[in-house]
C-alpha cells in the first residue's frame, strides 16, 4: 500500500517535472495577478485602521486599529444615502434604457434583406464603441452647451430660453444614460445577432407553412430562440449593480449636479485621492465591493439555476 502511495507520489512529482516549462510560462501572469490584484487586497486592512499618508504603504500594517469607526462615519454622514441611491438609480436607468435597446436593434437588423445595407448599419453602429468617453463628452458639449449647443440653438429659434443641460440636475442623468446607450447599443447587439443567426431556419419554414406572419415568427421563434442569451446577459448585468459607470460620470459631472450624479466611485475618488482620506474611502470602497460581490455571486447562482452556464 505504502509502495503504491509512493509510486503515485513519484508519478505526481514526475508530472510536475514534466510540466515545469508550463509553470514558467504561467509565471509572469501569476506574478502580475499577485502583485497588482492581490497586493491591493491586503490594502483593505486600511478600512479598519487609522492610516496617515506619510506612513507609506507599510502604514497598512503599522497603523492603529480603529475597528468599524470609518464605516460608522460613512453611514452617519449625509453623503451615504445620496451616493448609494445615485449609484443604484443610475444603474437601473442604464438597465431600463440600455438593456432592451440592442435587442430591438438586432431584431430590426435581422429583418433587413439587403446584406450590404445591414452590414453598413452594423459597422456604423459599432463606431461609438471605439470612441472614448472624452470624445463622447466633446460631442455632448457640442449638442447641449448653454452657449451655442445645437439643442439650445434650436430652442432659441423656437423662442425658448436656453438651458444649461450638462449642469442641470433635471437633465443630467438623461444625458448620461442617453450617451451611454448611444455608445454601447451597436456593440452589444452583436451577441444577439449571433444568437439569432444560430436559430434553426427550418423552424421559420415550418411556421410559414402553418401560416405564421412576420410578427408571429418573431414572437414565437426568434424571441424564444434568443431568450437564453437575453436571460444570461440580464443576470450577468445584475452583478454590476454597484457600478454605475465611473469613468463617464467622472468626466461628465460637475459640482452643480453632484446631487444626482455623485456615485460611490466618484465619492471615493474625490475623498480618497482628492482629500487624502485614505482609510475612510477604503472603508467606503470595501462596502461597495462586498455588496457588489453578493450580487455577483447571487446572479451567478440564478444563472445556474435557470440552466445557464454561469461565470464559473
Amino acid at each position: 500500500m505504502s509502495g503504491m502511495a509512493r509510486k503515485k507520489h513519484l508519478c505526481f512529482v514526475k508530472n510536475i517535472e514534466k510540466y515545469r516549462m508550463f509553470y514558467l510560462l504561467a509565471l509572469p501572469g501569476l506574478l502580475y495577478l499577485l502583485i497588482f490584484h492581490y497586493g491591493p487586497m491586503i490594502g483593505v486592512l486600511l478600512a479598519f485602521k487609522n492610516f496617515k499618508p506619510m506612513q507609506g504603504f507599510m502604514g497598512i500594517f503599522t497603523g492603529e486599529w480603529v475597528g468599524l469607526t470609518h464605516f460608522k462615519q460613512f453611514f452617519k454622514s449625509v453623503y451615504a444615502g445620496r451616493v448609494i441611491v445615485n449609484t443604484v438609480w443610475i444603474f437601473f436607468l442604464r438597465l431600463i434604457w440600455g438593456f432592451p435597446a440592442p435587442i430591438i436593434l438586432a431584431l430590426l437588423l435581422n429583418e433587413v434583406q439587403c446584406a450590404k445595407y445591414k452590414k453598413a448599419v452594423q459597422s456604423v453602429s459599432y463606431f461609438p464603441h471605439f470612441v472614448s468617453y472624452i470624445v463622447v463628452l466633446a460631442i455632448a458639449r457640442q449638442l447641449f452647451n448653454a452657449d451655442g449647443g445645437y439643442v439650445n440653438v434650436a430652442l432659441k429659434l423656437s423662442g425658448h430660453d436656453s438651458i444649461s443641460f450638462l449642469s442641470d440636475s433635471k437633465y443630467f442623468r438623461s444625458i448620461l444614460v442617453g450617451t451611454g446607450v448611444w455608445k454601447g447599443i451597436g456593440w452589444s447587439s452583436i451577441i444577439y445577432l449571433a444568437a439569432i443567426a444560430g436559430i434553426d431556419t427550418q423552424l421559420y419554414e415550418a411556421a410559414e407553412m402553418d401560416g405564421a406572419g412576420y410578427l408571429q415568427k418573431v414572437w414565437h421563434i426568434t424571441l424564444p430562440g434568443i431568450a437564453p442569451v437575453i436571460a444570461i446577459q440580464l443576470v450577468l448585468r445584475m452583478g454590476n449593480i454597484m457600478n454605475a459607470g465611473f469613468d463617464q460620470i467622472l468626466l461628465f459631472y460637475s459640482p452643480a449636479v453632484y446631487d444626482v450624479s455623485d456615485i460611490i466611485d466618484t465619492y471615493v475618488y474625490r475623498m480618497g485621492l482628492g482629500s487624502m482620506k485614505y482609510s475612510f474611502t477604503t472603508a467606503v470602497g470595501l462596502f461597495k465591493s462586498v455588496v457588489g460581490l453578493i450580487f455577483v455571486v447571487g446572479s451567478n447562482y440564478i444563472a445556474r439555476a435557470i440552466g445557464q452556464e454561469g461565470i464559473w
Binding site: 516549462m21 508550463f22 504561467a26 502580475y32 433587413v112 456604423v124 466633446a138
Partner: protein, 239 residues
Amino acid sequence: MKIKMSASRRLFVIFNYVFLTLLSLVFVLPMLSLVSTSLVSQAEIQERGNLFLFPRKIDYSAYKILLNKDSIVWNAYGITLFRVAVGTLIQMTVTCMLAYALSKKNLPFRGIITGFVLVPMFISGGLVPTYLLIKQLGLIDSLWVLVIPNAMSIYNMLLLRNFFMSIPITLEESAVLDGATPLRTLWSIILPLSLPSIMTIGMFYAVGHWNEWFDAAIYIKGISKNLMQYSPKYDIIYL
C-alpha cells in the same frame, strides 16, 4: 388576406429602412460635426453659429495651432502610441503564455491556479489601496505605470484559454515529439492556428489602451507625460 399582409409588411420594411438610416445618422453626424467644427475658422463660426455640417471653407488654423512644433500634442501622441504598442505587446505576451499553460488539462494544480486567477475578477482592493501600492512601487510619474498595472485582462485570458483548449492536441504532439519546448510549441503551432482569436483580443487590448485616460489622470502629474486624450481634452474642437 395574403395581399393585406404583404401591404403591412411593406409598410414595416419601409419603416425599418427609414428608422435604421436615421439611427445610422445618429451615430455618424455627431462625429462628422466634431470634425467639421475643427476645420472652420473662428470667423465662420461667429457668422454661421455652430449649426452646420460642412464648412464653407476648410480652415486648418486650429490644427496649425495644435500641431505646431512646440505643441504638447506631439509628446502626447508619442506617449499614446507608446502605450498602445508596448502595452498591447506586454498584454498579449502575458495573456498568451498564461492561457496556454492553463489550457493544459493535465497540468498539476490547474484547479488551484484557475481559482487564483478567477478571484480577482470579483474582488478588488479598490482605488485607494491600488494607488498606495503603485506609489510604493515607485511607479508614480513613470511611463511604465500606463502599461504594467494592466498587463493582463483576466477575462481576455480566459477567452483565449478556452480557444486554445479547442485546438486538437494531436497537432502539437508531433512538435513535442520532435523535442519542441512549450514556448516553441506555443509560438510555432498554437499561435498560428489561433490567429483570428489573437487578432481579436489584440484589438480589444489596443483599443482599450488608446481610449484609456483615467490611469494617466491619477498616476501622472507632469503634463509632459500626459496622453493625447487627456491633455488637449476638449480644446481640439474649440481652438
